[in-house]
Amino acid sequence: MNMLAKAADIARSPGDPKVQSTGPSSLGAADRMARGLGWFSIGLGAAELLAANRVARGLGLEGYEWLIRGYGLREVASGVACLSANPLPGVTSRVAGDGLDILTLLPALRHDNPKRGNAELALLAVAGVTLLDVLCQQGLTRRHARPSGPRRDYRDRSGFPKGLAAARGAVRQAGEARPALPGIA
């Protein structure tokens, strides 16, 4: 039993139907994953925006603070797009962003970086998230794309049982008045 639906019953009248048990959702696994990634993206983006100095210090990337804030903005924008009605562009932008993140982390793997261990962990995490992003992107494409190939042709569906020629101007030809327009005049 869905608790949100139960709580919303307060807005319904006594005779309105109430949910007793729920069935399968129209949301697919990839849709749910996109939402999860969207919220993750917003959270990560907010952390990068608000704590860019700490992130830079933690990775041994001092001097990159503004770049990290820029990436934070990118993460938030991708996250919002992932939560929209069509999450595919948002998830695709995350995949591209993952590539940027990996390129940005590579210099932190230098041997003289005292935070090299943190950078390796971060790189591992980005690689894992990249895998999730790619899987989600592929899942969304499979679920929502319009398959190419032959499509139905509806050129036999005029909707006029007596034919199109007879339908043209039928109202006027029958001497009927034009429909009276709605309004308060």
Partner: protein, 391 residues
């Protein structure tokens, strides 16, 4: 009973819910024999229409057999009557109903308090829609309570199939009203944006009302093929310039009448940069609706022409060129459909064989398959144009 229930954005489920009960002497309950998924259900599916609540039953295109009648509705309805249910709930007695402006009935919205705050004044109660219009349970279910049932019904004869009459509930009168609002003359070019179910009905209505030429604009080939079958000249906006082609078809003067059968979710494509901007603003909650079609209509419409808007808009839109519209002297007509204003006439046309609205049905499935069909319809997969559900 089973019903398709809204649980959140893009989350529709076929749930088991309690049966509806008569609440008011004017109520009736029908056993739903056929119902349909409407394009405006997709706006709810995407959560673009505010004030939906988890647990709301979807659907505003339904018909069936009357199984229970409240005491005050017995003079108009009997058990066993076969009725189509208009999506606008009407009292039949208020000032607006008496004028035939049924979609702005003053009495049937049970959340009038909300509507007055948001819209300035109340509008009619609607089935399976937002709580701004009453939050009435919808007809994508095995049973439906019809409030104000003595007025809110269309009796249909037994010799017509469900498929022939079901669309009297919404899309046929909506397409008809869109065309009627254009005040069509025999010399008119009527341009119709959107070849979904309402666009298809608007095309046929404009043909019946005698437009010189009807032009249909979309990017889905199978929908354009259906538009062509109905007598329209198709324009695929992903393959050619809409403005250029409309001007070619009208000697450079533009169509006299323009119909927006798209509404708030205009197609987003890189070739139309304003659609990208609208999409971004909508995602960031900086704009409710994506009004590309309105902009294009205002631009291309012939001066002194008419713009008719059956497509649903939910709230605020940006960058509408009102200066252009004002200087061109355009007339705007719009609104939810005054269904019962048109249905006696349209039922007669179906009975006489002038039109058969069942042409638009491409998929018929059981209620259990409804959640998946929302996705198929939304994604325009499997050449889907119109889904009918059989509870």
């Amino acid at each position: 009973m089973k019903a398709l229930v809204w649980h959140g954005k893009q989350d529709i489920r076929c749930d088991r819910v309690s049966d509806p009960e008569i609440e008011d002497p004017r109520d009736a309950i029908i056993r739903v024999t056929s119902c349909a998924i409407c394009g405006s259900d997709l706006h709810l599916f995407h959560n673009f229409i505010p004030a939906m609540l988890p647990g709301d039953i979807m659907g505003h295109e339904a018909m069936g057999e009357v199984v229970e009648v409240g005491s005050a509705a017995k003079s108009k309805l009997r058990t066993g009557d076969r009725i189509v249910v208009p999506f606008t709930i009407i009292c039949g007695e208020c000032d607006q109903c008496k004028r035939g402006n049924f979609s702005v009935c003053e009495r049937t919205n049970r959340r009038k308090d909300l509507a007055e705050k948001v819209f300035g004044h109340t509008t009619a109660g609607l089935f399976g829609y937002t709580h701004l219009t009453g939050g009435y349970p919808g007809g994508q279910a095995e049973y439906l309570r019809v409030p104000f049932a003595d007025a809110t019904h269309i009796k249909v004869p037994d010799n017509l199939t469900d498929e022939q009459v079901l669309f009297l509930s919404d899309i046929f009168p909506t397409g008809w009203q869109a065309a009627a609002q254009c005040d069509i003359e025999p010399t008119d070019t009527v341009a119709i944006w959107g070849c979904g179910p309402v666009g298809q009905m608007a095309i046929r209505s404009a043909i019946l009302l005698g437009a010189k030429q009807v032009v249909a604009i979309d990017c889905v080939p199978e929908r354009l093929s259906m538009a062509e079958a109905g007598g329209a000249i198709p324009i695929n906006f992903e393959e050619e310039s809409v403005v250029g082609r409309l001007n070619d078809l009208t000697g450079g003067k533009g169509p006299e009448k323009c119909i927006d059968a798209v509404g708030l979710e205009a197609h987003v494509t890189p070739s139309l940069p304003d659609t990208l901007l609208d999409r971004a603003k909508q995602a960031m909650l900086m704009e409710n609706d994506r009004p590309h079609v309105l902009r294009e209509m205002i631009y291309v419409c012939r001066p002194a022409g008419i713009i008719s808007i059956p497509g649903v808009y939910s709230g605020l839109v940006d960058k509408i060129p009102m200066g252009m519209a004002m200087n061109k002297g355009l007339t705007f007509r719009m609104g939810q459909t005054h269904v019962n204003r048109w249905t006696d006439d349209l039922l007669r046309r179906i009975e006489e064989g002038q039109i058969d609205p069942s042409f638009v049905i491409t998929h018929t499935v059981g209620l259990e398959e409804g959640p998946e069909m929302y996705k198929v319809f939304r994604d325009k997969q499997d050449s889907c144009v119109k889904v009918v559900l059989k509870p």
